[in-house]
Symmetry: C2
């Protein structure tokens, strides 16, 4: 289930390819595409500078290969976490109450991703870089990852509130709800300082999950009822 970001290959050349991809993930995440040099990437991979041109053709093509690997990997994670629910959603056999818990499930998966360590730290950084300063490679992430997720979330929200998933208002609301979860990643320096901690831990994860669940519940189950 928990597949590696890039599987361990047998041949020697593919092993060097993988080492370069992992080093590129680390360096691009830490400093962004422009500021990460192919020399430090090659050094971190234990390879020569020329190996990048040899295996990928150019720095840009190495980056593209990395983005495609990330997209495929994250799709797998979501399929493993909420696969059968999303399948029923795509099949059209999902009722309102199920949609609400589906929204909460997707939110929990997203929040959980933000608390995974290791390579996920770097994957998040890369995605943030591409969101906030999109390169011409952004469509790779959008089409391969962001759009499928966003559309599904919007459809769940539409079912939960009895609305039309094509309406701009519904899409905007879905985006705002998403923003709640993502804010703990993209503005992590700020929330960490505000809490006065060194880093977020499992107790924070629990609090965030609980409050997001509560928000989803209120927004889906109490709307169009005059607030008392």
């Amino acid at each position: 289930m928990a597949a590696k970001l890039f599987p361990l290959p047998a041949n020697k050349g593919d092993r060097a390819r993988r080492k370069l991809l992992m080093a590129a993930l680390e360096k691009f995440a830490a400093k962004g595409y422009d500021s990460a040099s192919i020399r430090e990437i090659a050094d971190a991979a234990g390879q020569n500078v020329a190996s990048i041109a040899y295996y990928f053709g150019s720095k840009k093509k190495l980056y593209i290969a990395l983005l495609e690997g990330i997209g495929g990997h994250l799709r797998e994670v979501f399929a493993a976490s909420a696969g059968e629910m999303l399948a029923r959603l795509d099949g059209g056999t999902l009722e309102s109450a199920e949609a609400v818990s589906g929204l909460q499930q997707m939110m929990r998966t997203m929040i959980g991703l933000q608390f995974r360590g290791g390579d996920f730290d770097k994957v998040r950084q890369i995605m943030i870089h591409e969101q906030t300063a999109p390169s011409d490679c952004y469509p790779i992430l959008y089409e391969g990852m962001l759009r499928p997720l966003h559309e599904r979330f919007t459809r769940l929200l539409a079912i939960a509130r009895g609305e039309d998933p094509e309406q701009p208002e519904v899409i905007l609301r879905a985006h705002a709800l998403f923003g709640q979860a993502i804010s703990f990643t993209w503005a992590r320096p700020t929330i960490v300082r505000r809490l006065g901690v060194r880093q977020l831990d499992d107790s924070h994860l629990g609090s965030i999950t609980a409050l997001i669940d509560e928000h989803i519940d209120l927004i889906c189950n109490s709307h169009s009822v005059s607030p008392r």
Copy 2:
């Protein structure tokens, strides 16, 4: 009220300083600190490369001067938009119902900032860059701008829900609510594509404001009441 980001100076030297700051705002926003070169900044300002060292000492110090100017300017904007409410909040004479509309007011100000064109586009980009890939200059923005705003918002939320503004759960909830508004800036490429539009317009602003108002209302007025 609507003060310029950097006031127009009289002397010749200060005018060159301002031209450099405005050009730096544009270039740092567009490409980030590392990728923006002092040559293109000087060119855009109609100045020589050496003028940056002459007026600011170095590229880094130019950036610091820019961040300080941004922080001061945004504080003015918020003071002009919600000054008396925030003053009453700081004075401690704010009741629950007022706190709810205060939250909505702050949210509307933040959302509105995201729809202002001109230099605000660039200010947002700079702040996003510093949030997602903090440089050693990040504390300038945090202490001078983010923390005062975040603390006030948290205190409003605590009053509105009858909670303790020091509790981590309250700080985390305030952050999540903030995230709803900011998501339209930091993930703008995604929401624009999802809507299938070229850019967000006033009708989107209206929809976003309405739905955020609704969320604030639900979260502050319907909580701890068993959902129907």
